[in-house]
Subunit: 175 residues, 2 copies
DNA sequence: GCAATTACGTAGCACTTGCTACAAAAAAAG
DNA sequence: CTTTTTTTGTAGCAAGTGCTACGTAATTGC
């Protein structure tokens, strides 16, 4: 019963669901295994080590998020930066996307603490995001860096329940 | 031997040092106690519960950070926003301040996962920061929200080793 | 100086952590 | 069918988690 290849993808998918619902940094083997309908024993068998699992899971999550991002806001060049930011902030606040933001913040905190795996995954996601933005931002790749920086800042404000600050900043951009 | 008041402050100071060096979210009682020259037993005795300790520690860290922020960049109104941002980013990247950024990102990730204590502490720090910025930003309180959003965004980029994105964004502000 | 309170050390409990030894099924290879 | 290889369950280990029971020392109030 070689659960190989195809099954490993669905396995990662189940693990991703669990992490999106319960957090990445606090995830431990036994609860993850239960969520995926298997045992901690088997997770180690598949991924060798927990770090290995996390590493593959980060890749899976990044791909999943990029995919959803593309479908939520299809590529079309916006006329106004303010409108683009408004749409993105609304998306980030939506129930379906908020879990990704939470694991995103987990990735960042682990990266800041020195985890190379998290830093690398974060780096990849940032680049994906920059490309994604370059296709939509009125100024293209040129405007993407600043726009992304503002977006990341708003994620922090929102996470702290400071939507008023986010909104004040976004309306300042309009001016 | 009532180690009251004054000693509790130095105790919190030792705990803060340990957390700044080794991370907030991964901190556990025994290592913290060792760093403060006491025992897990006594930490619970002083703070009742770990959550209580974290809560007081967050307040202590916030005050400590606000204090250092004030002394690192004394209040004076900047003529150019770009110059202010440049100075702040340089400060955040300095060895003496980077640890605060790391615990800051820990606070945010815990807040995003639903910890009320972390959310409240983060909220307080944001407000301190906004006041701090209002005294220095050329546009005063009006410019503080957007500036803070950009700064928080750069913290994320820097944490992921993406200083190039940060720098690109900051030079865009100049334009 | 005596009683009551406060401060602290020692030991441990119940539980979770990542991971492993061992063996039995199950599948593949011949 | 038999042998080898792959997959999986059961049990457990050593370390770490927050926290507590219990006793003793020190300090205070009177």
């Amino acid at each position: 019963m070689p659960r190989s290849k195809r099954d490993k993808t669905t396995l990662l998918s189940d693990l991703a669901d669990h992490v999106l619902a319960h957090g990445l940094n606090t995830a431990s083997l036994r609860p993850m295994a239960a969520a995926a309908g298997t045992s901690d024993r088997m997770l180690i068998y598949y991924f060798e080590t927990k770090d290995g699992l996390i590493s593959e899971l980060l890749d899976h999550l990044a791909a999943q998020m990029a995919h959803r991002l593309d479908h939520a806001i299809p590529p079309r060049r916006y006329a106004s930066e303010a409108q683009l930011l408004t749409d993105i902030v609304a998306l980030m606040r939506s129930d379906s996307f908020a879990p990704y933001t939470r694991v995103w913040l987990d990735i960042i905190s682990s990266a800041a603490q020195g985890s190379e795996a998290h830093r690398a995954a974060g780096h990849g996601i940032i680049n994906l995001y920059l490309e994604w933005l370059a296709k939509r931002h009125p100024k293209g790749a040129e405007g993407a860096a600043l726009a992304l920086t503002v977006i990341e800042g708003t994620l922090i404000m929102d996470a702290l329940g400071q939507r008023d600050v986010t909104d004040a900043a976004c309306s300042d951009i309009r001016a």
